[in-house]
Structures are given as structure tokens and as C-alpha cells.
Amino acid sequence: MRKYQKKQLDLLKSYVDREQEQTDLKISRQGKLRLQKWYVPLSDKEKKKITRELVQTVLARKPKMCSFLEWRDLKIVYKRYASLYFCCAIEDQDNELITLEIIHRYVELLDKYFGSVCELDIIFNFEKAYFILDEFLLGGEVQETSKKNVLKAIEQADLLQEAQVMIYDDILEDTYMETYESYCE
């Protein structure tokens, strides 16, 4: 039901918008892409190409190197958390340090939501990861920086989702009963 449902291995790319971010990637250490979000429209082929290049570049970096690098005409800000690399591609005039903090804030949100998040959580609940990202960033810009507010919004969305499931169940039951009854007649 969600348009974000995709195959496990081919997760969405975050490509943050021209305003601020261009791309948000979460890459595992083996180079597998876990999450992606794009904020500029690009063809699939281009996305794949960019992913490949970025993954190669970021994984080639040594531990002590600085978190920023230049790539094409964009800046890449990346940070490693345990087994995942989080990369953001931003425009030339954007503030790199604040982007680092965006990444950190996002990780904090995931952490709070999943309770001590690990890679498996993201793999199995990727749609929640995307929801949280969407609450936090909109069109490439930070829209809400208060952790409480974001998590509150997510909670409400969760509640809504469960309620809907219950309603669907009821409807299903009703439909079933009707069909059964019509058979009986």
C-alpha cells in the first residue's frame, strides 16, 4: 500500500533537493544500499550510476579523513555509524557542519523510535525509516528540528495505521459474511 515498498536490496535513495541536500544514502559496509532518498528528479539509470560512484568514493575513504569531500560540483558529507555509512550530497553553498548534524539528528530519531537502532531494524522496517525521514526533511530542507514533535507525528501516524488495519479487518469480515449469506440463499 505504500509506494515506497521495494525490493529489499534496492532501497530508495535520498537525493535531497537543490535547496540544501541532494542525496541521502545509507550504505552498509559491504556497499549494499539500504536507504536512498532523492530530492531532485533523475532517471533510474542516472541514479544507479551516481550511487555506484558515490559508494565507491565513500568506501574508499580512510577512517581519519575528514567528513567532507568534493564530488562533481557537489559536496558530499558522510558519517559512519557502526556498520552503516550515512551520506548526504549538498550544494556548494550549503553548510557542511550543519549537514553533519542533520545526519546525526536523523540517527537519533531512528534510535529513539526503534530503541537502540541497528542495521537490521532498518532493513526490516525500512518504511518506517522513510516515514521518519519525511517528517524530518521535506523537499530537502529541515522542516522540524524538535525531536519530540517529529516522534509525536510518527506515533500518530502509527496509530492511524493500526486503526485502519482494524477497520479493514471489519470490512473484510462484513464482506465475507455477505458473500457467505448470499451463497446460502
Binding site: 579523513m65 560540483d73 556548494d92 557542519l97 550543519i98 546525526h104 530542507e141 529541515v142 522540524e144 524538535s146
Partner: protein, 738 residues
């Protein structure tokens, strides 16, 4: 949009910071498209920002991030403010300055938390504030403080901060207020260049060095960049090569240093030296006489290395082809040795280089007739004449034929020395811009260029362009040489050139031939670079002078090279075509008579150049010479006239500001060397001439004591001055003393 504008802007005052954050993003985008409409947001943004920045950490509750109040919102507000120039309203401006100062102060305070997030957030706001300060570029105090703060970060433990500091300093370096402050950190930056392990940080250091380069530290910076180049990452080498080339050219006080730097570049990173770079060095060497001998010598020595890069062979081949004669006097660099040296590299080179070398060989045939047969043998060999590459084959065949059938005159004309290139913007800059894309350091380059452009002493060229006064002569064949263009090409930059034109009320344009007094014509000649010098029914002497730009160091003696081409139409006397170049074969001399007094007056007013003219027509014994001396400060003209018959005086008229001794330098053709003596005797017959010096390059230098004395120079100094390297690169041949 009008209705919505005020409502949207008003959102900045909202209580809920989330709303303000979102609104700021919106306003920033809209303001970029429509700055006028959203001007009102500036004051609101400033007040909001100052409230945030000065708030205690408990005020904002959930919007405080690791003890930093609303960092994202602060950054956004600062970004919004960067869309506008500094606010005009003094209250708002004052508040903003205060706010920025608070941010800068906070950076100095001890951190409230050990966590990296705290420092990142705090510094993020700080860097954005610095960006704003740089953008406004109006408060020197803030700029200097920002610079100092960045200087501290340059040595911070964290790589990220060092990286960002280097990057921000790059933009600071272009601002005039902080340029000096940035320069103080040069040692730290050079250190970073050498010791940083992260290649991206090193790259930023290079960019910063490039941005902060100016006259005072150019040599040091270029040396450091060359050092770095040896170990640099391959992907960035080309960019560094271009930058070094640009810096070397821009800040070269002494062009020998420039030549050295470029040759070093080729040696270190030959593969990455693009064509523009070595084209440029050739252009510069050709345009500047003073460095030609040095370039020939250096290139010759560099070529002797066992393994030299192909680009070096190209440069070397070209320069030796043009100026090899300047070092041919030295037995270590005799023509044959030069040729063998080049030819030893021949088979190692690619096709374009070989083509260039073949051209060099034919130029050698012209320069050094003694090795003509050797070269012809090479050209005649099957590997050239039957070469698989069409271009090489064609060149070999044609050059061989040319060397066989052309007389020396024609050969000399065809292979005349390359005229100076017109001054144009360095293509290297264009290439660098293309590489880096717009909005980069190179744009700062432009700004600096404008500021520095006068430092090189190049005033606007007086566009004294070809007013071709030449009347075509019927005796065209005699002027086969005349056809060879004496180019009045490069309008050379010389300030008094304007003076040249202004002083005379006469129109500086083409002269209508005047029968009467040659003075008028002479006068006109004075006011133009070219024109009719003398004319009567039999004869018309037209003159074109070519000037070259000379950047001269104080005290150096400059030589004036004057090419003159006389077109004349007459029946009896031989036509003199004076071409001043070492290779020229023919020199005829006109004797022209010019009334002296008129000259004195005129010459006193202005400087001009001319040449040795001897014209058969009116007065066989006289000859006139003149020259323009280009010196560092002004163009000084002097008229030298010799009238041996009249117990002549060599009159050196020197004008207004004589700061240096002037002398005229004439190059005589080798064929006419026999005439040297007689001419020298004649020259010496003048009272004030002390000596005539003939150099190995077949130049004649007349040394006039009066001028020297006028200039406050001692006699010995004059001779010593003339004997300095620039003028007499390879030794004095003969000196005729009185």
C-alpha cells in the same frame, strides 16, 4: 504574490519554532527569485536571530541541540540574510553586527559539552556567520576577527574544522580588508600542505595559497606549489599546473624566473602541462627581448638532460629555432651542437613534435649557414622524405627544396624572426575557469587582476596602429624584402605613447605627402610610429617603427630594436631596406638630410624612434639615426644625428625625465660588418661620442658621454651598463675608442 508576501514574512515572528524554520526556507527561496519583494524579512530575521543567539539554553527547550540554541534555524536565518546586502537601516545593521559579534565571542568560550555534536552545531553557526561577514564585506573589524578565528581553526585537532577553515579563508583572501590578515597565515598553510594526510585538505591548502598569492609572496608560493606538485594526486595535477603557470606569469618581476618556473613545471609534470601553458611561455619569450637569450641558454641546458619530456623538446625546439643564434657564440652551444642535441631527441618524439623540429631545422639553415649541408643530409634521408606521415614528409620535402633553391635573401625573409604576438588575455586563465566551473576562485582572480593590473607597469597601449603610409613602389622586386612585413603589430603598452600623439597638433593620421621641408615630415614621423619620413619627387621614405614592450629593471640598459622599412621610388640611389634582426641579410642605407634645428626643438618635446638612414639623395655624407629608448619610467626618445661632414655632433636629445643613460643600439647586418669600421669611425668623429661598441651579435652601440653625464652616470658606468648581460649577452666584439 503581493498579498501573500506580508503574511509569509510575518510567519517569521511565529511562536512555534518549527513554523519559523519552515517559513525561513520558503522565504529564502522566494527571496532569491524576487529579492525586492521580501526585503522586509531582513529586519525580522535579524531580530529573530539575535533573540535566539542571546537566549539561555533553557529557553528554547526542545529546540536546543546539545546546548546550542536552535542551530538549524540560526543557520537558515543567516543564509536568508546572505541573499541581501548589508541592511541600510542603522538600527538593524547595529543589531546584526552585535549578533555576529556574539556568535564570534561564543566561539571563544569554553565548550559546554564534550560531545562532538555540540561543537559541530556551534561551529556550524559560526561558519555560517563568517560566510555572512564575508558576503557583506563591509566591516573590517569583523573580517579581521573572522580571519583570526579561522586562523585558530587551521591548527585544530579535528580535520573537519581544518578543512572548513581553509575553505573559508579562500573566500576571505579576496576581500581587500582581510587580504593582509590572511597572508599572515601563510606558514601554517604551507605546513598543512606538507603534513596533512587527507588529500582533500591538501587540495584546499593549495587553493588557499593560490588565492592569497600576491607580489610579496609569489616566489615562495610558487616554489611550494612546485614542491607539492611532485607528489600530488594525479587527478589534480593539471589544475595545479595551470595555477602555477598563471601565478608565475602574473607576478613575474623578472621574466627569467618565469621561464625557469615553466621549464620546471614541464620537467616535473610534463604530461599535465597543457598546450596553453607552453604556448604562453613562447609568446612571452618572443615578446620580450630581454629574456630571449636567457631562455635559449636555459632551454639548451635543460635539453641536455638524458630524459626530458616531450613538451620540453617542443619548447626547446621552438626557442632554439628562433633565438639559437644568441647562444651560438659560445663554443659549448655552437650551432652544430644545438642541432645534434635536438636531433638526438627527434626519434623519441611524436609526430607533432617532429614536425616542429623540422621547422626548427630549416630555421637553423637560415641562422647558421655553416651547418646547412648537415641539415640537408638529414632532410634528404629516406626516413624523412619517405615518411609514413604525410605532414612530416611534406615538410621534409619542402624544406629541403627551400634550402636548396632559395637564395639567402629569400630564405632570410621567409624565415624571419617571429614578430611579437599581440597582447591578449592568457588562454590559461580561460582554461582554468573551464576546468573549475563558474563561481570559483578564479573569479576572485579576476577581481585581483583588475587591482593588480597596473602593478605590472603596463599602461594602456597607445593604439598607434598601422597607418600604412606606404606608397607602393614600382620597383617591387627590389623590395622583395620590403614585402616582408615589418609589423607594426602589437600596440605595445607605453604610456607616453599617448604623449607621442598628443603633442603635435597635427593629425596623427596618415600623412599626405608634403613636398616641403623634411622637417614637417620628420615631425610627423615624430608623432607617429610610422609615416613618410622624407619625400620628394624622387624619393619617399616611409617608416614604420615597431616597438616592443619592455619591462625594465632599474638601471638596466635597454636596447631599442627598430625595424624600418623604407619604400622608395627612385631612379638612382639604392634603396635601403633596413631590417633589424640578426638574420637579415640586406641593409641598405639611406642618407637623409634633415635640418637640425627643427629637430632639436621637436625632439626636445617628445621622444620617438627612428633608425639609421642614409640617403643618397641630397647629402651623401650625412646620416641620421635615432632611437627610442624604452626605459622603466618613460619612453625617452633621442635623436642621434651624425653629420660627419659638418664636424658633426652626435646629438642625443633626451627628453624630460632622463633617468637613465640612453644609448642607441643598432643592429647591423652581418654582411655589412665590413662597414662597421667606417661607420664607427664616422660615429666617433662626433665630439661627445666616447666609444662605439660592436657586440658579437653584430650590434653597434654608440655610447655618448654627454648623455651619460646628463644622467648623472659615470663614464665607466655607462660602459659597464652596456656590458651587462641584457644588452651584450655574449660578449663584446670590438670597441672603438676615440
Amino acid at each position: 504574490m503581493g498579498d501573500w508576501t506580508s503574511r509569509v514574512v510575518h510567519l517569521l515572528n511565529d511562536q512555534h519554532l518549527g513554523v519559523v524554520t519552515a517559513a525561513t526556507s520558503l522565504i529564502t527561496t522566494l527571496a532569491q527569485k524576487n529579492p525586492e519583494e521580501f526585503k522586509t524579512s531582513v529586519s525580522l530575521a535579524v531580530s529573530r536571530l539575535s533573540r535566539i543567539v542571546t537566549s539561555a539554553s533553557t529557553d528554547l527547550q526542545d529546540y536546543t541541540y546539545y546546548f546550542v540554541p536552535a542551530p538549524w534555524l540560526s543557520v537558515k536565518l543567516l543564509r536568508l540574510l546572505q541573499c541581501y546586502p548589508p541592511p541600510e537601516d542603522p538600527a538593524v545593521r547595529g543589531r546584526l553586527t552585535e549578533c555576529l559579534e556574539t556568535i564570534l565571542n561564543k566561539a571563544q568560550e569554553p565548550p559546554k559539552s564534550k560531545k562532538v555534536q555540540h561543537s559541530n552545531a556551534k561551529n556550524a553557526v559560526l561558519f555560517e556567520a563568517i560566510s555572512l561577514i564575508i558576503h557583506h564585506d563591509s566591516e573590517p573589524n569583523l573580517l579581521v576577527r573572522a580571519c583570526n578565528q579561522l586562523g585558530q581553526f587551521l591548527q585544530h585537532r579535528e580535520t573537519n574544522l581544518r578543512y572548513l577553515a581553509l575553505e573559508s579563508m579562500c573566500t576571505l583572501a579576496s576581500s581587500e580588508f582581510s587580504h593582509e590578515a590572511v597572508k599572515t597565515h601563510i606558514e601554517t598553510v604551507i605546513n598543512a600542505l606538507k603534513t596533512e594526510r587527507d588529500v582533500s585538505v591538501r587540495q584546499r591548502a593549495v587553493d588557499l595559497l593560490y588565492a592569497m598569492c600576491d607580489r610579496s609572496n609569489a616566489q615562495q608560493i610558487v616554489a611550494e606549489m612546485l614542491n607539492y606538485l611532485e607528489t600530488a594526486d594525479y587527478s589534480i595535477r593539471e589544475e595545479i599546473v595551470l595555477k602555477v603557470a598563471i601565478l608565475a606569469e602574473k607576478y613575474a618581476v623578472d621574466y627569467t624566473w618565469y621561464v625557469d618556473t615553466i621549464l620546471n613545471l614541464i620537467r616535473i609534470a610534463g604530461d599535465y602541462v597543457s598546450e596553453e601553458v607552453w604556448y604562453r611561455v613562447i609568446q612571452i619569450v618572443i615578446n620580450r627581448d630581454d629574456v630571449q637569450g636567457y631562455a635559449a641558454k636555459t632551454v639548451f641546458e635543460a635539453l641536455q638532460a638524458p630524459a626530458c619530456h616531450e613538451n620540453l623538446v617542443k619548447v626547446g625546439g621552438y626557442i632554439l629555432g628562433e633565438f639559437g643564434n644568441l647562444i651560438a657564440g659560445d663554443p659549448r652551444s655552437s650551432p652544430l651542437i644545438q642541432f645534434n642535441l635536438l636531433h638526438s631527441k627527434f626519434h623519441l618524439c611524436s609526430v607533432p613534435t617532429r614536425a616542429l623540429l623540422l621547422s626548427t631545422y630549416i630555421k637553423f639553415v637560415n641562422l647558421f649557414p655553416e651547418i646547412k649541408t648537415t641539415i640537408q643530409d638529414v632532410l634528404r634521408s629516406d626516413s624523412q622524405l619517405k615518411n609514413a606521415d604525410v605532414e612530416l614528409q611534406q615538410r621534409a620535402v619542402e624544406y629541403l627544396r627551400l634550402s636548396t633553391i632559395a637564395s639567402t635573401d629569400i630564405l632570410a625573409t621567409v624565415l624571419e624572426e617571429m614578430p611579437p604576438f599581440p597582447e591578449r588575455e592568457s588562454s590559461i586563465l580561460a582554461k582554468l575557469k573551464k576546468k573549475k566551473g563558474p563561481g570559483t576562485v578564479t573569479d576572485l582572480e579576476e577581481i585581483k587582476k583588475e587591482r593588480n593590473s597596473d602593478m605590472n607597469g603596463s599602461a594602456e597601449p597607445a593604439a598607434v596602429d598601422a597607418n600604412a603610409v606606404r606608397t607602393p613602389s614600382p620597383s617591387e622586386d627590389l623590395l622583395g624584402l620590403g614585402a616582408a612585413p615589418v609589423t607594426n603589430a602589437a600596440p605595445p603598452p607605453f604610456a607616453p605613447g599617448n604623449l607621442l600623439v598628443d603633442v603635435f597638433a597635427d593629425s596623427p593620421s596618415a600623412i599626405a605627402p608634403l613636398a616641403p621641408g623634411s622637417d614637417d615630415n620628420f615631425a610627423r614621423f615624430v608623432c607617429k610610429n610610422n609615416g613618410v619620413l622624407f619625400e620628394n619627387q624622387l624619393l619617399q621614405i616611409g617608416l614604420k617603427s615597431e616597438f616592443r614592450q619592455n619591462l625594465v629593471d632599474g638601471g638596466a640598459q635597454v636596447q631599442q630594436v627598430v625595424n624600418i622599412e623604407c619604400v622608395s621610388d627612385f631612379m638612382e640611389a639604392p634603396i635601403l631596406n633596413i631590417q633589424f634582426s640578426p638574420k637579415q641579410e640586406v641593409q641598405n642605407i639611406f642618407k637623409a638630410k634633415h635640418p637640425m634645428d627643427a629637430e632639436i626643438t621637436k625632439a626636445k618635446i617628445i621622444g620617438f624612434g627612428s633608425a639609421l638612414l642614409e640617403e643618397v639623395d641630397p647629402n651623401p655624407a650625412n646620416f641620421v639615426g635615432a632611437g627610442i629608448i624604452h626605459t622603466k619610467t618613460t619612453q625617452i626618445g633621442c635623436l642621434l644625428r651624425l653629420e660627419p661632414n659638418l664636424q658633426a655632433q652626435i646629438i642625443l636629445y633626451t627628453l624630460d625625465q632622463i633617468k637613465h643613460a640612453s644609448f642607441c643600439c643598432f643592429k647591423l647586418v652581418k654582411e655589412q660588418l665590413a662597414k662597421r669600421e667606417s661607420i664607427s669611425r664616422e660615429l666617433l668623429s662626433a665630439d661627445s661620442v666616447e666609444a662605439v661598441v660592436i657586440t658579437r651579435g653584430a650590434k653597434v652601440i654608440v655610447v655618448d658621454k654627454t648623455v651619460g653625464i646628463n644622467a648623472g652616470l659615470d663614464w665607466g658606468e655607462i660602459l659597464v651598463g652596456t656590458a651587462n648581460e641584457d644588452v651584450l649577452p655574449y660578449g663584446v666584439d670590438v670597441v672603438f675608442w676615440k
